[in-house]
Amino acid sequence: MKSDNMQLTHLNTRGEANMVDVGNKQETRREAVASGRIMMQPETLKLLSDGKLPKGDVIATARIAGIQAAKRTHELIPLCHALALSKVSVEFDIDHEAGCVKVTALCRLNGRTGVEMEALTAVSVACLTLYDMCKAVDKGMRIEAVQLESKQGGMRGDYQREPSRAAPIVTGEGATGEVTLGERCASPCVRVKFLAELRERVGASDTVLDLKQVPSRDIAGLKMALSQQDRRFSVLSDQRTLCAINQVMANDAARITDEDEVAFFPPVTGG
């Protein structure tokens, strides 16, 4: 089966381009999701989200462009069949932290051929339209990571992109069963870890804080010092945020001393 899957269906036995005859294939429900992103300057992104770009409503225009492009994929990609798509949707997610607009397209039909090219074309053209609409203020924008996320239906079976493994499987470098001490600080300090969702929200997994910067030597003081450093740390004062000192649960009044390991994390969800 593996070798069959590795064959390119758009080439005939002589290796020439070939439009596949799909007349004998069963009609099945097909769906594909593709994604991509366009990176841009924070100022451009702000103008975009505030609706202040000279060409008007950027997102609405890019959405229509993506939908139109999906329907016309067969005109652009030489060996694609013309398809009567039953559904096309193009969604945009403005990510101010990452400095990009993420584009996701979904295409669906009941038919004899897959719709991944349509979804990829929708994402590509939506990104190109975003570029066109914003290029007056930012020429350095970059279209990236246009890729198939998933597809369902068809004889080659379903596909689901494996999630990126950038997130660590376990938190911190500590060996199992040990408290991480790391190198000694020059002056009294605490080591602070942010776990799971909290790590993603503050954008850091750990930091070291000089105890001299802490207004009071307890968890409340530590939270205050961190919030003054960066407003993203204000999430630490959220009621849901939990805290442990040297891997034992602690509250705001708990004392912190030199070389302590303090961890902040969301409510647990194991089991």
Binding site: V33, E149, S150, Q160, P163, R165, A167, P168, I169, V170, T171, G172, G174, A175, T176, G177, E178, V179, T180, K193, L195, A196, E197, E200, A244, Q247, V248, A263, F265, P266, P267, V268, T269, G270, G271
Partner: protein, 151 residues
């Protein structure tokens, strides 16, 4: 106290813990085990997998402490807890708690108790991957209510 705790990324079998617990013992009258699996539906209908993260060190200590509390409350002969971390797909086993005692009631109750506290106190976090994207699983108030039953 005979309490064993393991955190691992590798799968475990549905017999895991039996051999270790029962080897060369004839005083055990009851073994109760619970195995938790990855469902393909949760907060969204199409869960394709999940990533389990934990806090190494604190996780083991928390599970050992929960085992010790069960040991104090009931007359037990063995407690065995294994929990997986890393990327898991629907149908994969996540957690297994096995409790052995002379009589069944202790084993049933202690196993229930350990799971309730594992879910509400052990530092594990699940990130679900679905066809609509990925998100961190939210805690459930029902889990907190379950744990409060033992107060």
């Amino acid at each position: 106290m005979n309490i064993q705790v393991r955190i691992q990324s590798a799968p475990f079998s549905l017999l895991d813990g039996y051999e270790q617990t029962l080897a060369q013992r004839t005083d055990i009258g009851a073994v109760v085990s619970f195995t938790g699996l990855v469902r393909d539906f949760n907060e969204t209908p199409d869960v394709t997998g999940l990533t389990l993260e934990h806090y190494p060190g604190m996780t083991e200590r928390t599970l050992e402490r929960i085992g010790e509390e069960a040991w104090q409350r009931w007359s037990l002969q063995a407690v065995y807890i294994v929990h997986r971390v890393g990327y898991l797909t629907p149908g994969d086993p996540i957690v297994r708690v096995l409790v052995a005692s002379a009589h069944r009631r202790e084993a049933f109750e202690a196993c229930d108790f350990i799971m309730d506290f594992l879910k509400t106190q052990a530092p594990f976090w699940k990130k679900e991957h679905s066809s609509n994207g990925e998100y961190w699983v939210k805690e459930r108030t029902t889990d907190m209510q379950d744990a409060a039953r033992w107060a």
